[in-house]
């Protein structure tokens, strides 16, 4: 019996010829990622001792600006200044400061991870980096152990295979398809498991749009997403990764725990309704739902293509007076690309708030927080209770979030896209 790509990557990381689902193995990290929420690793270290240096300065990325583009208050200003100082003390070479953007996008853009490698991160959405054909997963508290030793224990996951075929209709994006999948499979469909995405629809997407599928793996309980690296992946990495790497692929006779096949061709725009990321409905059922705030950004919507979709809707139109519409590019590179293409000008003239790069009001860490009883729609991945106060949060595509900005309510965005 063959092995899945994830099993092969973990075998290499464990220094073994093969590993099997269910086994506990210690693996070496090729990349440790932290966005330092609440400085947990530094709080641990303050009780443990002094870390002279992280396990390998080349293999650690710190994204202080993941949740905040600037400190939101005195407390967080103090915390971030401590985090920066600590990073410098222990030799962190790749320190992305506030205003740099969403840490996962930074890892992707800056070549910190390559096919076949292992990333261990403090954040639950680390799973999205499997889009590069890597094993990437969140480990949270245990990031302290990774920073010290470069190793962590992993329970080797079974792998689920999900195939998407066909082409979406105009006005239906990868965010819609990913939302539909979550609705079909549910919040614990992939508990502790890996999910490999394949099919001609996935192949047709850019690396960044493919990543949406890998990021939402955790919303169905998964350990990591995975897309087999192809020519698009290698082209994306060409000017970003200069070290040798070894892609891994699932063997033809690999055993998948489950397989699902979806045809995307007839799919209509989808919406996730409050309050679970796997609640999914055709948008039509929620047309007319008023919204107070709408935004495009987050790890499932902060790339250049997401802003192009937003611009397609907004060109020649204005943001509704009753709505706050936020544009939150994932990183400075995405921001600059929006600028080069004239999108920032378009957004500004239409009445949008253009924010510095970070992960946006996906939760209440920085700005754009909602008041009692307010409603938001965004392209971000989560709407669980307690994430945005008592607000009602819908999740949707950049098209739908932007059409809602124009009308002040959820509407089918295709009316603004002309004929298919």
């Amino acid at each position: 019996m063959g092995h899945t790509a994830v099993e092969k990557i973990l075998a290499r990381g464990a220094g073994r010829s093969e590993v099997f689902p269910g086994e506990f193995v210690d693996v070496k990290a090729d990349l440790a990622f932290s966005h330092s929420p609440m400085l947990m690793e530094f709080k641990h270290l303050s009780q443990i001792g002094t870390m002279k240096q992280v396990f390998d300065p080349e293999k650690v990325v710190y994204a202080i600006g993941h949740h905040l583009f600037l400190p939101a208050d005195n407390h967080r200003a103090t915390e971030e200044s401590k985090a920066r100082a600590k990073c410098r003390e222990c030799g962190v070479k790749y320190l992305y400061d506030q205003g740099s953007g969403n840490g996962h996008y930074l890892v992707l853009e800056n070549g910190h991870l390559a096919p076949g490698e292992i990333e261990l991160g403090s954040d639950s959405h680390t799973c999205g980096l499997g889009v590069l054909g890597a094993y990437a997963t969140g480990i949270s508290q245990e990031i302290t152990e990774v920073l010290l030793s470069g190793k962590i224990w992993i329970r080797v996951p079974k792998t689920i295979k999900i195939t998407f075929n066909g082409r979406t209709k105009k006005g239906v994006s990868a965010r819609d398809v990913a939302q539909f999948m979550l609705g079909q499979l549910g919040p614990d469909a992939a508990l502790w498991q890996a999910v490999e995405f394949t099919g001609d629809y996935i192949e047709s997407l850019s690396v960044q749009q493919r990543a949406i599928f890998c990021f939402v793996v955790v919303e169905m309980g998964g350990q990591c997403g995975f897309v087999a690296p192809d020519e698009k992946t290698f082209a994306f990495l060409k000017d970003r990764v200069h070290r040798p790497y070894t892609p891994e692929y699932s063997d033809p006779d690999a055993e998948f725990s489950k397989e699902f096949v979806f045809d995307v061709s007839e799919l209509e725009p989808q919406v996730c309704y409050p309050s679970s990321p796997t609640n999914c409905s055709p948008l039509a059922a929620y047309e007319g739902q008023p919204v107070d705030q709408t935004w495009v950004g987050g790890c499932t919507g902060g790339g250049i293509e997401d802003f192009r979709m937003a611009a397609e809707i907004l060109r020649g139109r204005k943001v509704n007076d009753n709505v706050r519409y936020l544009i939150v590019p994932g990183t400075r590179a995405q921001w600059e690309q929006c600028n080069r293409e004239g999108l920032l000008d378009l957004f500004m003239k239409a009445g949008a708030f253009i924010l510095p790069p970070y992960c946006g009001p996906c939760q209440m860490h920085c700005v754009g927080n909602l008041g009692e009883g307010q409603t938001m729609v965004g392209t971000h991945p989560r709407n669980w209770p307690g994430r945005c106060g008592n607000a009602q949060v819908f999740l949707a595509s950049p098209y739908t979030a932007t059409a809602a900005a124009v009308e002040g309510k959820l509407v089918d965005p295709r009316k603004y896209l002309g004929r298919a």
Binding site: S124, G138, R387
Partner: protein, 170 residues
């Protein structure tokens, strides 16, 4: 190394897919004095104010889903003895043992537990017994490293106990 003792506590029952933001609310991560008043209030407004030392959370599948935040810091502060569930979300499971609160996956626990029942938790014996009803369920195998971390009093103490293994730590 601490002994893992058998203990008893009353059950607070919850459903499936309870998320970590409902335990540690977003925006309150930095202010535990405030955050602790709102633990699980969206699901049971009485919980935070009335939970007693060693009381246990009994829940369905995928407990602790969503964010990687250290939600169990608040459960520990409230004195929660253990989280006993049909299944646990991966990050919550890892985090919560590291913080020093056991997470026990026990198939069938929901069916044998009502709110307020007295449960006896025997981690090393691998069994949870409902003292009120007399029924019991077995605990699924626990990741060996997490059990080791727990025995040492949590992640920080575990790392200290292995200090000589880290050449970069003084």
């Amino acid at each position: 190394m601490k002994d893992i003792e058998v203990f008893e506590g009353h059950a607070w029952t919850f459903g499936n897919n309870i998320n970590t933001e409902s335990i540690m609310n977003s925006g309150l991560e930095y202010t535990h004095d405030e955050a602790v008043k709102h633990v699980l209030e969206v699901y049971d407004p009485d919980f935070a104010g009335q939970v007693q030392q060693n009381d246990v959370i009994v829940a369905g599948t995928n407990f602790g889903t969503s964010s990687a935040r250290p939600a169990a810091e608040l459960l520990k502060r409230l004195g929660v003895g253990a989280v006993i569930c049909e299944s646990a979300a991966r990050l919550f499971y890892r985090n919560t043992w590291c913080i020093g609160v056991p997470v026990l996956e026990c198939s069938g626990i929901k069916a044998i537990t009502r709110k307020g029942d007295l449960l006896r938790v025997d981690i090393l014996g691998g069994v949870v017994t409902n003292v009120t009803s007399g029924k019991s369920v077995s605990i699924q195998p626990i990741a060996p490293t997490l059990l080791d971390i727990y025995r040492n009093g949590g992640l920080v103490s575990w790392i200290i106990s292995r200090k000589e293994q880290y050449p970069n730590l003084v």
